[in-house]
Chain length 140, copies 2
DNA sequence: AGCAAATTTGCAATAATGTTGCAGGTTTTG
DNA sequence: CAAAACCTGCAACATTATTGCAAATTTGCT
């Protein structure tokens, strides 16, 4: 079965053009996508509202996760291993390239544990590294 | 000399009511503040625009830094050591409490280095830990 | 295949958030 | 104290996000 359909079905979501197109974008893109990227995608001219709702649905189902950025943008990326509903186990590092701007999930780099002050109980952590990505480095 | 004035003067900023009030909020607050927090602050009824500009000025001067969050909000917190203009050395971990929602700078917890895949050159990293903070833990 | 129920979409309206130019006011400098 | 520099508030505008509802699509069932 097609990978797209497989993911949608596994999450008990109706298979619609919008969801297929948006999910396809994620599967094709190595890095992360912002809401704006999806809206601007030429092939897929969906209503803004639909994009918002689709992304939210995907996050809820654990198909994609969002990435914190210190500037305002919300970025989304595919979860490597499918996560349980609402619970993401994407404990990998995200890398944002200063040159090309692309955000990459470094699935093989696990977020290290840190020793917190007394009383703090950690449940989940996120880590973002900025710098120059392998692709841009190679071009120079 | 008053700490407020000291900070403003050291950064060659005019001392105005707005800046004093906003900086005072940061000095009083253990955690981080969102733009909305400042705007809602009862005593300080400044124009929205003034708040935006003041926060931007403080960030530019290295008085405050912003904290990435996976939801959309931009949070700001005081820089512990004053940073050089534009260059922040706030390489500490941020903690967001799931119970009270407050964000705390863990100044004493340094972000660990991670080993990146070949070709990636890191320049700056950020780390956010979510869980239950010491204050909320103690209340239970 | 065909039909009813459930779900999803697009539109419209509205809210929330962020930006810019400019006139008037405040702070600083000397 | 006066001039210059800087800051603030207003207004207008741009962008981003949310909600309700009717129409359209998809699904489950026979």
């Amino acid at each position: 079965m097609d990978q797209l359909l497989d993911i949608l079905k596994r999450n008990r979501l109706s298979v619609t053009d919008g969801r297929k197109k948006i999910l396809e974008m994620f599967l094709k893109t190595p890095g992360a996508l912002a809401h704006a990227d999806i809206e601007k995608y030429t092939d897929a001219a969906f209503d803004r509202v639909t994009v918002y709702r689709t992304l939210q649905t995907f996050v809820d189902k654990g198909i994609i996760h969002n990435i914190p950025t210190s500037d305002n943008a919300i970025l989304y990326a595919l979860c490597k291993e499918e996560c349980a509903d609402g619970h993401h186990h994407d404990n990998h590092v995200h890398f944002i390239c200063d040159t090309c701007g692309q955000t990459t999930c470094l699935d093989e780099v696990t977020i290290p544990e840190v020793k917190l002050p007394k009383g703090f109980r950690p449940q989940f952590s996120e880590m973002v590294v900025k710098g120059i990505c392998a692709a841009c480095q190679a071009k120079q």
